[in-house]
Subunit: 304 residues, 2 copies
Amino acid sequence: MQPKIAIIGSGAVGAYYGGMLAHSGADVHFLMRADLAAVRERGMTIRTRGETVHLAAVKACATTAEIGPCDLVIIALKATANHALDGLIPPLLHERTALLTLQNGLGNEEYLAARWGAERVMGALCFVCLNRTEPGVVEHFDHGTISVGEFIGGPQARTRQIAEALGAAGIEAQVVENLVTERWRKLLWNIPFNGLAIAAGGATVADVLASEGLRGSARALISEVLDAARRLGHEIEDAFADFQIERSYSMGPYKPSSLIDWELHRPVEVEAIWGEPLRQGVAVGAQMPRLELLYRLLQRLVLH
Amino acid sequence: MQPKIAIIGSGAVGAYYGGMLAHSGADVHFLMRADLAAVRERGMTIRTRGETVHLAAVKACATTAEIGPCDLVIIALKATANHALDGLIPPLLHERTALLTLQNGLGNEEYLAARWGAERVMGALCFVCLNRTEPGVVEHFDHGTISVGEFIGGPQARTRQIAEALGAAGIEAQVVENLVTERWRKLLWNIPFNGLAIAAGGATVADVLASEGLRGSARALISEVLDAARRLGHEIEDAFADFQIERSYSMGPYKPSSLIDWELHRPVEVEAIWGEPLRQGVAVGAQMPRLELLYRLLQRLVLH
């Protein structure tokens, strides 16, 4: 029997991955609030690489009770809204329901594990440029790669099945051996570039790289995060840290996603991206004075 | 014969101290640009503690060549405008002209000493709340204490004479044994509170103290600065560092002067208050990662 999938959080990320899965024939159920009426009336549209994917009949519900128990729950809420999961998840669970979080940063798998058991929990890193242009409409600009892994232990049969289902939906998907290591690798970029972008008052990647001072601060932050990651047992090579700077030169005046969120007065995932890595690093003796100051400034700056 | 005094920079600070000296009968010559016509027409006004001091006939000039050689040159420009001194100072010099900078932070005495000789250079710290409300008009809200010292060596006869002249003008003035130590003591407050005020997007002293994170960052910055000051030979007691936090509670929602400058898009003395202390500290082996990040952020934030 085909697995039943729920998408919790139908912003750009949830709508894109869920929509592509549904388009490939998967049994996908969307929890929707703001977009529910529009999607029931007009369906969902994904504009991707010159192609338009239209889903006329979308299974969209206003509550998770309407959706009922699923085999896989994909969580694409902002991490700042995790508290809402306490009420949303239980109606979706049967004994073997897997919970897959697409959220950024650290602490999201732990949040799910603490409430519904670590063995259910999976995570994925999405490298994708999306924009929700209107209710039920997502613009897909670039990339789309998704790396799926288990919170506890290495890949299982379900890990590979999910990656295959995503691949069949036209998404470049891979299985990662160590999900948490991959999260730290991504943080090596997100912590400096997303953070300095906001704290420097709206600096693009090019702005950070063009300023000797900010570029040096980005490098110093990367060193702090790398040291913390290694103390926590994640093997990340020195060259990867340099690569986070080098690869950024080709991005030009790119606005990191947190900067866009900040400029649009949307929630910024300060705890997941800066707070939790700081706490985990400090707990194992890492010195992270720059990250600490950056985190404290961001906490206030995102209040607007 | 009465000493001839020039005031370079007739913003609020220059106008207040120069105006009070002139009011007491000293021979004070003001270099003025923006306010020249207004002051020639209407004189200068200082509103202080319920009293209005009006100077009908002010010796105001548009160039330092018109002023000519002086015994004492009081410099009250923003440190960001120091380059202008290269042309302004020479016409004011005779063999024994003293140069007294009222500017904030570090590096200003060095700037003067490198160009016109260290033996001429004196400095003062002003603790005063002023506002230039219109051309030629200064509002004096609070304090006014000025601490005068020599750049090289201890107090001399001239140091005491200047303090006495200020005292005779109704200003609480004192002579300090070690000017540079006093500058570091003041930086212990200015570096965290002026800096976090801007970097946190407009935080008053009360805002910094009310946030556990920002208050902790202020304390950590004070520790970095205290370590640097001690490595540079300045004896500052631990209790003074704590006092910088404790005394701030009574300030309430006070906006540090750099925050006001920043909000009004005026120049902020980033190099004098953050850059130069960082460079001096790092040169003697101090670890100042928080100050470094704060400095780099401020460099960009003040560009607007």
